[in-house]
Amino acid sequence: MSKRLFASSVLLLTAAAGITQAASKLNVMTATQDLASLAREVGGDLINADSIAMGYQDPHFVEPKPSFLLKLQKADLLVVVGLQLEIGWLPPLITQSRNSKIQVGAPGYLDMSQSCQILEIPTGQVTRAMGDVHPLGNPHYWLDPDNGRRIAKTLAAKLSEMQPANAAAFAQRYADFDKRLAAAEKGWEAKMAPYRGRKVVTYHRSWPNFCDHFGLVVVDYVEPKPGIPPSPVHTLEVINTMKREGIKLILVEPYFDLRAPNKIAQDVGGQVAVLLPSVGGVKQVTDYFQLFDYDINLLVSLFEKVK
């Protein structure tokens, strides 16, 4: 009997400890799966990380569903891409979350663009005649591993600030991530080295940071202007440009229609690469490392094909 009592007490205490630990976990909500993946890298089991936009959907057009409010209501930290990527859907969710911790400017609101290298910051006059431009710069910056490192470092600092007791663990996890990323980067760069300087066409302006890091040159876009679907005239211009400059590869995000890119590729004898701009773009890509593994392997195989 006493043994049973002892066993029950141990069980209860373990359960209670588990509950306490679970209660002390930071709830981190992120706008995209990329940010959630990086949060998991530095937060590990010490945090719960979840995201709003799925990796296979266009992050510009996410529906502000009330079900997201249930998650945002409990968040301790909201990490956003910023640069107006989420402007069409995140502001009403934040306002309606009834969570003072994650309101813009509150300690639990983290705009990651403030810590990263941002490209394509418009200079001079910005108007919507230029399409759906991002006046603060291109928001697809997480596709540069150096920015991935900066995001992880910023997250480690933020998590430590919010939970000083675990600061050493966050720092250690960041150091480990940094090491693994450096090793992975060497591999990615080695694979891409033969193709440095190669010219490509992309559908949307999602790839400046990726191309800048791996030495690809973006010459034109399938969209005539950001957010404007391809027109026959522009498609013809792209075909002519690609023929003139000997470009054979078109990079397309998984949420865009493939008809125009396929038509262009057919006309120039090239290939369409459905490259993933985000973690979760396909089922098997579940973290930041796999995202680059997938994209780089695909690129290398297609560059080989169109040699």
Partner: protein, 437 residues
């Protein structure tokens, strides 16, 4: 500044690496460096003497060193070796605190036979100006001012407290009441060029229940995966043709319960129940409105920008007390509903259809007004029934403009039938608003 730091470092390096070399040579080099330092100091003095605007300040490094926490950075000041920044942000920076400003234009045209509710052939129906900004760490404010061709109206202007305890949210100001779905929507986010008959007959049309008051809402506990929200509102009590406050105690109240659930990642259902009560414009008594709404949405995430479908419907019952009492039944209880569907078949194209039917009191006003005067041959509490159907085609040149055509056939309770083509151009400028949901 970098040079100043480099000199001792380089000197130390020399001293450490060349201990055996001739000290005279080393002293000569140090002397030369001292001279350079003096020259640089003189240059710095000259630069400091110039007005700040004329100093060419180096742009911040495009790729900063690995970031640190903002608080830390602020406390420590600029890192050593950072470019010298003179002056503040300049007067233009104050403008960053201006609210987000947007203007939405709504041009409406009509052709054909309008029968009872003929609208103008061409009109700049509405120009809505929005100002939205965070007020302080506890609240934000939203103003929507609607300019018609002749008048101006504060469509909404309210403060939202975002940092209340217990998951509460409080809005204070003038706002569209949370009665059903359509009443809360601004004209430019409607899936039609007009409002359904039930809204025109029972809810004061496009003006709607839009009044000064307070709104308190809370996400209520519910089984996992269900979003349940309760809203309670108190208004002054003035809604044209629906409620009228003759005294301070004639406030109107609105209650709304919303239940939302994701059926899967592409499909969701949104159900609502509403209640409103206010003082009757026609008698010293209270009118009531009851509503039920349902919305089913489908949007496949992988192709979200190309295909979607929304089906919605709303039922409204009214209980209106009439005066003077000319018959034994001074109360009318009209009922109306609409069902509507909208299918996006390409990135820029949407096809829609709507069926609506609504009763109205023989002598009660509608918005837009029904031209026929009150039929005195009928009893005061007689009900007339209007039925309509519409087909719609919408085209989006971009996210910021929209062209829509609507074929509308309406059979009014008086026996007249209207066949109309309505067309609409909408355009927005300024701050990017949230996508409607």
């Amino acid at each position: 500044m970098r040079v100043f730091m480099l000199v001792p470092a380089v000197a130390a390096l020399f001293a450490a690496q060349l201990p055996a070399q001739d000290t005279t040579e080393l002293l000569n080099r140090m002397k030369a460096m001292e001279d350079r330092i003096r020259a640089l100091e003189a240059e710095v003095r000259t630069l400091k003497a110039q007005p700040p605007g004329t100093v060419a300040v180096a742009a911040p490094a495009a790729a900063p060193a690995l970031p640190t926490a903002p608080v830390e950075a602020a406390a420590q000041g600029p890192p050593p070796g950072a470019p010298l920044t003179l002056g503040g942000a300049g007067p233009a920076a104050a403008k960053v605190l201006n609210p987000d400003i947007s203007v939405i234009g709504d041009f409406l045209g009509a052709a054909g036979n309008g029968a009872n509710r003929g609208t103008p052939s061409l009109q700049m129906h509405e120009s809505e100006v929005g100002f939205q900004e965070v007020i302080d760490p506890y609240a934000r404010a939203d103003f929507f001012i609607s300019f018609g061709e002749q008048g101006v109206n504060l469509e909404e202007g309210y403060l939202t407290f975002t940092a209340l305890p217990a998951g509460l949210q409080l809005k204070v100001g003038k706002m569209r009441a949370a009665f059903g779905k359509v009443n809360a929507l601004h004209n430019h986010v409607l899936p039609w060029t007009d409002r359904p008959l039930v809204s025109q007959n029972l809810l004061s049309g496009e003006d709607g229940i839009d009044d000064a008051g307070l709104s308190l809402s809370r996400i209520l506990p519910a089984p996992k995966g269900i979003f349940l929200e309760g809203t309670a509102q108190v208004f002054r009590g003035d809604t044209d043709g629906v409620f009228q406050a003759d005294k301070r105690s004639h406030v109107s109240t609105v209650g709304h319960l919303r239940l939302y659930r994701d059926l899967n990642e592409s499909t969701n259902i949104d159900l609502g129940g509403s209640f409103a009560r206010g003082h009757s414009p026609w008698a010293d008594a209270w009118n009531q409105l009851y509503g039920a709404d349902a919305t089913l949405r489908w949007k496949p995430l992988r192709r979200a920008i190309y295909h979607s479908f929304v089906a919605r419907g709303e039922l409204i019952w009214a209980r209106t007390v009439l005066a003077p009492v000319r018959s034994n039944s001074p109360i009318v209880t009209p009922f109306g509903f609409y069902v509507s569907g909208e299918y996006q078949f390409a990135r820029r194209w949407f096809l829609g259809a709507r069926f609506d039917r609504s009763q109205r009191g023989n002598c009660l006003p509608t918005n837009p007004a029904t031209t026929t005067a009150c039929d005195t041959r009928l009893p005061l509490n007689a009900l007339l029934q209007d039925t309509g159907g519409s087909l719609l085609l919408t085209y989006w040149p971009s996210e910021f403009s929209q062209i829509r055509g609507q074929l509308r056939r309406t059979r009014y309770g008086e026996g007249l039938t209207a066949n109309e083509l309505l067309f609409q151009f909408q355009f927005s400028m300024g701050a990017h608003g949230a996508h409607p949901f």
